[in-house]
């Protein structure tokens, strides 16, 4: 299909090493990643029409850290800049919408997370319902475990299926130079481990990761100027469910993912590769079902969030990895998924296509 000036593509992607503990501040983590993404398409900072980042002050524990992070863009002369207190995948969504206005032809979306300053397993208790959940210390591990238990009780999977998701992702991560955790794991050994939150074991939980990623977007002809094989965004949609997981009709399904997938046109043609942001192992199974993917789709060649989970970045990395499959590996049609909130509350689906 011929591309028009209203079509928008991912043309550049850069990510930091994904590590348990970076010695840098968020801003210091961001600068080389943002600038290398821009340099990778032959541009400089002053060529970019719009910049937007995703981060959360509560992770690094620094008020207005997102303002300091603007320094990573070299924001003089002044730039057009925005920020979302969300994963960088939602920053990319804003950049996409901004580009649709048609007056600029490049944008940068970044995500940064210095997760190691805090303990995400307790920090995200304050993300829960402030009246009914935060006061009883409803931590994110426990919330995920309740969803996992409901999923097991639905009969759709076993704990062995969870462990297989982990083993496959971490084996895939062996070929990802940015991964924090990778290797070959024996399913029976994984299943012999103690529960952290029954029915979830340590390996079912995401690692704590510091990291950053940045994506360059371009509109219309500009995309071909900057990239030999742009990854065109042919569909992008995100949906939200009730905040309290118990108010959702069935938390063993992801209705919001299914709706977003429909909106993004996932089912219109086969998907070669899907990068799914499932922080907890079993959630990959829920998302796969909601996306309607069959066995022909390769899942998470990067290793996904079980190999590295910089919160505020993981979703954007999925987009960069899915785009790289088109830009560098010649794939035809790929998918990136991002999630946010307790028990897969919010889900974003992005379909990317390369030219025939």
């Amino acid at each position: 299909m011929a591309r028009t000036e209203n079509d928008i593509a991912i043309v550049g992607f850069s990510q930091s090493p994904m590590v348990r503990r970076s010695q840098k501040t968020e801003t210091e983590m961001m600068l080389p990643v943002v600038q290398s993404a821009i340099a990778s398409v032959g541009l400089t900072k002053n060529d970019i029409g719009f910049t937007v980042s995703g981060s959360c002050d509560y992770l690094s524990g620094q008020a207005f850290s997102f303002v300091s992070n603007v320094d990573a863009y070299g924001a003089w002369p002044p730039i057009n800049e925005s920020h979302v207190e969300m994963d960088g995948a939602w920053a990319l969504y804003e950049a996409f919408v901004r580009l649709l206005q048609g007056d600029i032809d490049t944008a940068v979306a970044a995500g940064v997370g210095k997760n190691s300053n805090s303990d995400p397993s307790t920090l995200f208790t304050i993300e829960m319902d402030p009246y009914y959940l935060t006061p009883i210390g409803a931590d994110p591990w426990s919330m995920a475990a309740l969803q996992a238990r409901a999923y097991l009780d639905s009969g759709k999977a076993t704990e062995r299926d969870f462990a297989e998701v982990v083993a496959r992702n971490r084996a895939n991560a062996k070929s990802n130079p940015h991964a924090q955790l990778s290797g070959d794991f024996d399913i029976d050994e994984l299943l012999a481990a103690d529960y952290v939150r029954n029915p979830l074991r340590r390996h079912d939980l995401p690692p704590t990761t510091d990291g950053c990623a940045a994506i360059v977007l371009a509109r219309g002809k500009k995309a071909y100027d900057l990239c030999e094989r742009p990854a065109w965004i042919t569909g992008i949609d995100h949906r939200i469910e009730a905040h309290l997981p118990t108010m959702r009709a069935d938390i063993t399904k992801s209705v919001s993912t299914a709706l977003a997938a429909q909106g993004a046109g996932v089912g219109n043609a086969p998907i070669d590769v899907a990068e799914i942001y499932a922080p907890f192992s079993f959630q990959e199974l829920i998302i796969r079902e909601a996306l309607g993917l069959d066995a022909s789709t390769e899942i998470n060649p990067s290793g996904g969030a079980l190999a590295a989970n910089p919160v505020m970045v993981s979703g954007l990395i999925r987009m960069g990895e899915a785009a790289t499959q088109i830009m560098k590996n010649g794939k035809r049609r790929t998918l990136a998924h991002a999630t946010s909130g307790p028990c897969l509350q919010q889900n974003l689906v992005c379909v990317l296509e390369g030219d025939e």
Partner: protein
């Protein structure tokens, strides 16, 4: 010389008060009396209630219904090592509990003694804090415990006659988070220079701007700077801008009288140190154009433990402030076009 701090622990604590709105005020007022209620909306009973129907976003209305105190567990998980955030300290379960009379589940603790006691379908019963300890918060329910008698709760499903003006309409919350920040390389350079009684910056090789203290980058040219870009800068300068703050007595504010915070352009550089305090002069006598010099704390007493990555150019407990040198002021108009 004391060691620089490579990791700093930061405890973020703040109290706040939430308003509850009519539905949650009604719920928490009933809870403080030992009664759990739900609201009938969209043909089902939601408990705990929300002010809107999550399926339709319609107003949930005021058709309140008594639910519990007994209920049935569906999903559960075990917390073998409770943290400071959890309201009971022995191992317990979180569970989805559908209270008698309700159609949706509530998430709460089950204090069952051991993991092996947890079963899907088990009957549990709410235990409340003593009346005089209840504040109208969800942890007024201490936990659910296995029900002695699995029979249905008496009165569940009956209407709850809510008072027109609920007794409780706000809720006190407390945020308590611990951060362990590691000191970045550029901040370490600054700490070491302060302990040695001198000021340093990093000079950008592209635009020649000097940043005091080091921040590891030029934020104009977006390039990384390191120890090879470090330059010494003078500890004397001119006030280019200031503000006088009348202190409000929030927790942590030690000032009681109006005080000035100044931007100081260091001599012979384009580097500004912001938010600096001026010694020995009343706030209303601080002027743009004044020459000032840093007053260093005696070497043995210098301390950088309060310096972190959270603020560039803070003198920590190494510079006690800046003092007027007595030199004639520079003309104020020299500094008109500066923001800092």
């Amino acid at each position: 010389m004391p060691d620089v701090v490579h990791e700093s622990v930061f405890n973020l604590q703040f109290p706040f008060t939430r308003t509850l709105g009519s539905t949650l005020s009604t719920f928490f007022s009933a809870l403080a009396q030992g009664q759990i209620i739900g609201v009938r909306t969209g043909g089902r009973v939601i408990a705990p209630p929300l002010e809107y129907d999550p399926d339709t976003a319609a107003d949930s209305g005021t058709d309140y219904v008594k639910v519990g105190p007994k209920g049935t567990v569906s999903a559960w998980t075990w917390v073998p090592e409770p943290t400071h955030l959890h309201t009971i300290k022995n191992p317990f379960a979180f569970a989805f509990i559908t209270l008698d009379g309700a159609d949706t589940a509530m998430i709460h603790l089950v204090d069952a003694g051991s993991e092996s006691a947890m079963k899907p379908g088990m009957r549990v019963e709410a235990t409340f804090k003593p009346v005089d300890e209840r504040v109208g918060r969800i942890d007024d329910i201490l936990a659910f415990v296995p029900a002695a008698d699995p029979a249905p709760s008496a009165g569940a499903g009956e209407s709850w006659d809510a008072p027109a003006e609920p007794e409780i309409s706000t809720q006190d919350s407390y945020c308590d988070l611990v951060y362990v920040d590691n000191t970045s390389a550029s901040t370490l350079l600054w700490m070491e220079s302060l302990l040695a009684g001198k000021l340093v910056g990093q000079k950008c090789p592209v635009c020649s701007r000097t940043f005091v203290g080091p921040r590891g980058m030029c934020c104009v040219d977006a390039i990384e700077l390191d120890e090879t870009n470090v330059v010494d800068v003078p500890d004397r300068g001119v006030i280019t801008n200031f503000t006088v703050i009348t202190p409000v007595q929030y927790p942590g504010q030690l000032e009681t009288e109006p005080f000035a915070r100044c931007s100081i352009l260091l001599d012979g550089t384009d580097a500004v140190m912001a938010q600096q305090s001026i010694l020995d002069i009343p706030a209303d006598q601080v002027r743009v154009g004044m020459h000032v010099a840093a007053v260093w704390v005696p070497e043995a007493e210098r301390d950088v433990s309060e310096i972190g990555n959270r603020g560039w150019g803070s003198g920590g407990d190494c510079i006690s402030g800046w003092r007027h040198t007595g030199q004639p002021d520079e003309p104020e108009e020299n500094y008109l076009e500066r923001m800092m």
